[in-house]
Symmetry: C2
Subunit: 84 residues, 2 copies
C-alpha cells in the first residue's frame, strides 16, 4: 500500500538558528517588529509499505541515516494513507 510521509525537521531547543535570525533582522529593517522567529523544514514523499507502522519505521530509519542530524535536529513523522 502507498502512504504519504511527512517529516517535520526543526532545530533542537537552544540551537542557534542563523536563518531565522537573519529573517527577523531583515523584517526589522523594513519596520516589521516580530519576535521568536523560527524556521522548520518539511520533506514530503510517498512510500510503499505493508502497513502504517512499517512505513513509519522505514521513514524513521531514513531520518536517522540521511534526512536529519540527530545531534542538532528534532523530527516528527506523519504517515497517512495515500487514498484516504
Amino acid at each position: 500500500m502507498k502512504y504519504n510521509a511527512e517529516v517535520k525537521i526543526s532545530l533542537k531547543k537552544g540551537m542557534l538558528n542563523p536563518e531565522a535570525a537573519t529573517i527577523q533582522r531583515a523584517l526589522a529593517l523594513l519596520d516589521y517588529k516580530v519576535e521568536n522567529t523560527d524556521t522548520i523544514e518539511i520533506i514530503k514523499f510517498s512510500i510503499e509499505g505493508e502497513d502504517e507502522e512499517t512505513a513509519h519505521d522505514n521513514v524513521d530509519e531514513m531520518c536517522q541515516r540521511l534526512l536529519c542530524n540527530p545531534v542538532i535536529h528534532d523530527y516528527e513523522i506523519t504517515i497517512t494513507p495515500e487514498n484516504g
Copy 2:
C-alpha cells in the same frame, strides 16, 4: 494583542525542486524507494496586532516584500492567538 504567525512556503506546481530531487536520489542510493518528493519551508514568528485580520494583512505584506518570491512560490499564512 499577540499572535503566532506561520508562513508555509512551497514552490509553485511545475517548478523544479533540486533539493527534493537530490533527497530522492540520495534515498535511492541507500535503497529507499520513494516518490513525489517535495520540500516545504515554514517560517514562524510572533507578531503584535490589533486583531487577527490586521495581523494577517501585515504578514501577507511581509511575504510579498521579503519572505516569498511570488513568481516561484506559493504561500499560506496561519494566524493564531498566542494565548489560545
